[in-house]
């Protein structure tokens, strides 16, 4: 395949489950992970006679997301019914939005290899999730309706994405955004953030889009990337051979590393959309809109900007810190507690993050070394109380023993000896004990200074300030 012959055109549909207390149209819990069919009520089960009542918290989440992505908020909009038959869909239709989505336009902004990318959005709309079919052995199926009625925001991008890598970075950026807003936990494995991709190829320079396929079932960043890469290759091979791409929906099989056709355009549903008659039009008042705007936190892009300018961090470090809001919050707290930003970033990235399996746990509040404790340790090093090398050991003990740096340093007598009298005495002792080495140093082997420093540090049990030791030795050996 000729990699550069074709331009890849990708549009993504991301479904973000909103972490509201209750479901979008009824009162049962929207929480993940309960026993099957325990988070249900007559409404989400679609029992005859039930009616939907819109959850205001879901609307607020969608409005905040729309504002954060720079969308135009439609202050009066409608829900619509989207019909298809499937056992996990209790009413035989999904309540969604069709021609009047709550948010239109806007963009998701992120960095790809240091370059700023902005992917335009078509729309963001509110809808309800379906339940889940569980296929047991021997042709028996069960349905779990816990998920039925959990609120979703569907975020639809323009076909602005040009590579599999960019697609996965886009999803990362969406995830960071919804997590910063606190409206979705962004857990792709549990399905609270899901993604479908429309992929097509066209000859470079061509104006018209090629025939697209829709990829489904990609439940990790890696899956998004692998599935799209695989689809791009598959389409390129077809086009190279002069064959046509068939418009169809394909299901990604991560285990086999390939996708398979699920249904073709001809088999596509006629969803028979029409306005949901059980819900009056949704109205977002000016007051509600302003309240939502005022509630927006600092967003990932703004934070990145702040870290790379006023904090003086490298784009790489800033990128790592910004990716998870808990990491950024930890960083900000350490800086607020007095740590210089660059040092705080280094310690956080190299020591703290190396010790946690999931960086989101930093937000849990019981981190072994909280931000203020890290700042205290950095302070001890900056002020020369302990060496940087010793600092790493102290950090390890802080992490395992959950003690403060000052406490460890004091209890173990680890404070550096900066008393020049005591250090000078040790230096004199070492120089006197090694006359040959002293002679060779004076004869022009300056590297031997390391030998003397090491010996003094050993003599002082590692507590001497290396800088002071060096100064005194230089004086003694050259005088």
């Amino acid at each position: 395949m000729s990699a550069d012959k074709y331009e890849v055109v990708i549009g993504l549909e991301v479904h973000a489950q909103l972490s509201t207390q209750s479901k979008i149209f009824s009162w049962s819990s929207a929480a993940f992970g309960a026993d099957p069919n325990t988070h249900t009520d007559p409404v989400c089960l679609g029992l005859p006679g039930t009616l939907p009542v819109l959850n205001g918290a879901a609307v607020e989440s969608a409005v905040r997301l729309g504002l954060a992505a720079g969308c135009k908020i439609r202050q009066r909009c409608r829900f619509a019914r989207k019909h298809y038959f499937y056992p996990d869909l209790p009413k035989g239709f999904q309540i969604s939005q069709f021609d009047e989505p709550i948010c239109e336009g806007g963009a998701i902004t992120f960095r790809l290899h240091g370059e700023r990318r902005s992917i335009r959005l078509v729309r963001i709309h509110l809808e309800e999730d379906a339940g889940k079919n569980l296929h047991a052995a021997a042709g028996v199926s069960f349905v779990d309706y816990n998920r039925a009625g959990v609120p979703l925001c569907e975020i639809v991008s323009e076909p602005d994405i040009r590579s599999a890598e960019e697609a996965s970075e886009y999803v990362r950026a969406v995830r960071a955004l919804v997590r910063y807003l606190g409206i979705c936990d962004g857990n792709m494995e549990e399905g609270s953030l899901r993604c479908d991709a429309n992929v097509s190829l066209r000859l470079r320079g061509a104006a018209a889009y090629g025939t697209k396929t829709e990829l489904k079932n990609m439940n990790s960043f890696k899956n998004v990337r692998d599935a799209i890469e695989s689809e791009v290759k598959r389409q390129a091979v077809l086009l190279d051979r002069g064959e046509r791409v068939v418009q169809e929906t394909r299901l990604w099989d991560a285990a086999r590393g390939m996708s398979a056709a699920m249904r073709s355009k001809e088999q596509a549903h006629d969803y028979r959309y029409f306005p949901e008659p059980d819900l009056p039009p949704l109205v977002v008042s000016d007051v509600e809109l302003e309240k939502a705007r005022a509630s927006l936190p600092e967003l990932p892009e703004d934070r990145f900007e702040r870290y790379t300018t006023s904090s003086g961090l490298s784009p790489q470090d800033a990128g790592v810190l910004v990716a998870e809001k808990e990491v950024a919050a930890y960083f900000d707290a350490a800086v607020l507690a007095g740590a210089p930003p660059k040092r705080a970033a280094n310690w956080l990235i190299n020591e703290v993050l190396a010790r946690v399996d999931d960086p989101r746990k930093l937000g849990a509040g019981d981190t072994a070394v909280p931000p203020a404790a890290l700042a205290e340790l950095i302070g001890l090093i900056e002020s020369g109380k302990i060496s940087g090398k010793l600092g790493k050991d102290v950090f390890t003990r802080m992490w395992t023993e959950r003690r403060r740096a000052a406490e460890i340093v004091a209890a173990e007598g680890l404070a550096q000896v900066s008393d020049t009298g005591a250090i000078e005495e040790a230096c004199r002792k070492v120089v006197a004990a090694n006359p040959d080495e002293a002679a060779r140093f004076r004869a022009g082997s300056p590297k031997l200074i390391g030998f003397f420093v090491g010996a003094v540090m050993k003599e002082t049990g590692g507590k001497a300030n290396p800088k002071t030791v060096n100064e005194i030795l230089q004086r003694l050996l050259t005088s």
Binding site: P48, G49, L51, L54, V143, R272, D278, L279
Partner: protein, 506 residues
């Protein structure tokens, strides 16, 4: 028999008697249960009689009164519940095979409010399947018969409710009205019934036929009985987003205002729409309605001509919207979670197709197919979209008319009750009979139906009084004034002879 004679008894008489300790709720309930046991084999009003539950509820009312607690505004009033209202723990089927065995885990707002007010539900009442029909011939449980003539239909879809009230098999009943389903059977059975303003009565727990057109409402023997039931049934409901937050009107006071003195309608303007008095109307119906208008004038009302120019589009608009919504609302009957499921389907498709094929009767199938056609991709604008725009025009007609009058008076049905089987072969003709009743559903305005005479063969004729949005009081005032000046509502159908026709050819 120690039971009181409840034939023709009004809700007011029962509630007042029970509240005053002159009647025991249990005795009243037993009297109705006894009538049902003796007479309903011939009429087929009930699909389920909950005798034990009724006795328990009646005893609770008597106990509350004995303990000095308020037994409620409808204390001990035996009522029938159209089988479209969801009742906790009691099978609810919409008279459809597809819902056989469905025992709901929750209660409709309306039936909960009635129970809280002390009403005693006797059981679930027969209807056209999923409220689709004007004759009650579409019930999977067999048709209800008209108490005035067992060979005639009671109307539909709330035919069982109207017939049960007419035959004193309950003192009042609930119904739903999507295109006339309360008013037309009330008219054909000679009782009163009201379709209130859309959103005035909660639809929570009312099984949906056409969501934007479905109006739950009450049946009673008198206008005041209907008013008493509506006062309890109406009001905002947090479980129905389309319910109206406005306070409930004082409907019985409105009735009393109409009954007062010789000219209870002094200052009231009654509008007569030309479009409702067209060729095709039964001559006896027209004569009775014209006579009723004269009576209203004698009561002090000023009769003024009004125009509802889009009336001719009402039937087409109605059938586009109601079939579209029905096709959507009936999608949930798939055999997966409740009700009928076909035996041993080999595939998911087969589960759906066979369950629905076996479970739905002819009329729901017809409407699902029509509605699916109406909503199909690419045709939305031509059908549903256009119907919504015409619906707006029809509503605007009413808005304009109500600048000239306080209420509009028309016949309820252009014809009296017809014979079983007479119209089943011609569904279009059946649909056209809804011409008088569908426009108020499209506009969402309240409309009251009551008797205004009888044909020479003894079949009831009905009047319709349409009010502006939330103008129920105007309807009640006019209806009660008319009722106070006439005797039609006092006439009772004969009790059917034991062993009367139990089969109807159709």
């Amino acid at each position: 028999m120690s039971h009181p004679d409840v034939r023709g008894l009004s809700i007011a008489a029962i509630a007042d008697g029970v509240r005053a300790g002159k009647l025991r709720a249990r005795d009243v309930t037993e009297a109705y249960l006894d009538r049902i046991g003796r007479l309903d084999r011939a009429l087929n009003c009930y699909v389920l009689v909950d005798a034990e539950g009724a006795r328990r509820r009646a005893d609770a009312v008597d106990a509350a009164r004995a303990a000095g607690r308020d037994p409620g505004a409808l204390a001990g009033v035996p009522i029938g519940i159209k089988d479209i209202f969801v009742t906790r723990g009691i099978e609810t089927t919409c008279a459809s095979k597809i819902l056989r065995g469905f025992i709901p885990p929750f209660e409709s707002t309306v039936t909960q409010r009635l129970a809280d007010a002390g009403a005693v539900s006797l059981g679930k009442i027969n209807m056209d399947e999923f409220a689709m029909g004007s004759s009650n011939e579409n019930s999977s449980r067999g048709p209800v018969r008209n108490p005035w003539s067992l060979a005639h239909v009671p109307g539909g879809s709330s035919g069982g409710s109207a017939a049960a009230v007419a035959a004193s098999l309950c003192a009042g009943a609930t119904g739903t009205d999507t295109g006339g389903s309360i008013r037309q059977p009330a008219s054909l059975c000679g009782v009163a019934g009201m379709k209130p303003t859309y959103g005035r009565v909660s639809r929570y727990g009312v099984i949906a036929f056409a969501s934007s057109l479905d109006h739950p409402g009450p049946f009673g023997r008198t206008i005041e009985d209907v008013a008493a039931l509506l006062e309890v049934m109406a009001g905002a409901d947090p479980l129905d987003a389309t319910s109206i937050p406005a306070p409930v009107g004082r409907y019985r006071d409105a009735c009393r205002a109409g009954q007062a003195g010789k000219e209870g309608l002094q200052g009231v303007r009654v509008g007569i729409p030309d479009e409702y008095f067209q060729p095709g109307m039964d001559a006896e119906v027209e004569a009775a309605v014209r006579a009723a208008l004269d009576e209203l004038a004698r009561a002090g009302a000023k009769v003024v001509p009004v125009s509802l120019p889009h009336t001719k589009y009402a039937i087409a608009t109605y059938y586009l919207i109601c079939t579209a919504e029905a096709s959507s609302n009936l999608a949930r009957y798939d055999g997966v979670r409740f009700g009928h499921r076909t035996k041993d389907p080999r595939t998911l498709e087969e589960l759906y197709a066979r369950t629905r094929g076996e479970g739905f009767g002819l009329e729901p199938k017809r409407r699902i197919m029509l509605g699916t056609y109406v909503l199909r991709a690419g045709y939305y604008e031509a059908y549903y979209g256009k119907a919504l725009r015409v619906r707006r025009k029809i509503a605007d007609d009413f808005t304009a008319a109500f600048t000239k009058c306080d209420a509009i008076v028309t016949p309820t049905s252009p014809i009296p009750a017809f014979r079983f089987g007479e119209r089943m072969g011609d569904p279009l003709q059946m649909y056209l009979a809804d011409v008088m009743t569908v426009a108020p559903n499209l506009a969402g305005v309240p409309a009251l139906a009551q008797g205004c005479g009888f044909t020479r063969s003894g079949l009831p004729i009905g009047l319709q009084i349409i009010g502006p949005p939330l103008g129920e009081e105007a309807c009640f005032r006019i209806g009660a004034a008319y009722e106070a000046r006439t005797e039609w509502h006092r006439r009772l159908p004969p009790d059917p002879a034991a062993g009367a026709a139990t089969e109807v050819a159709s």
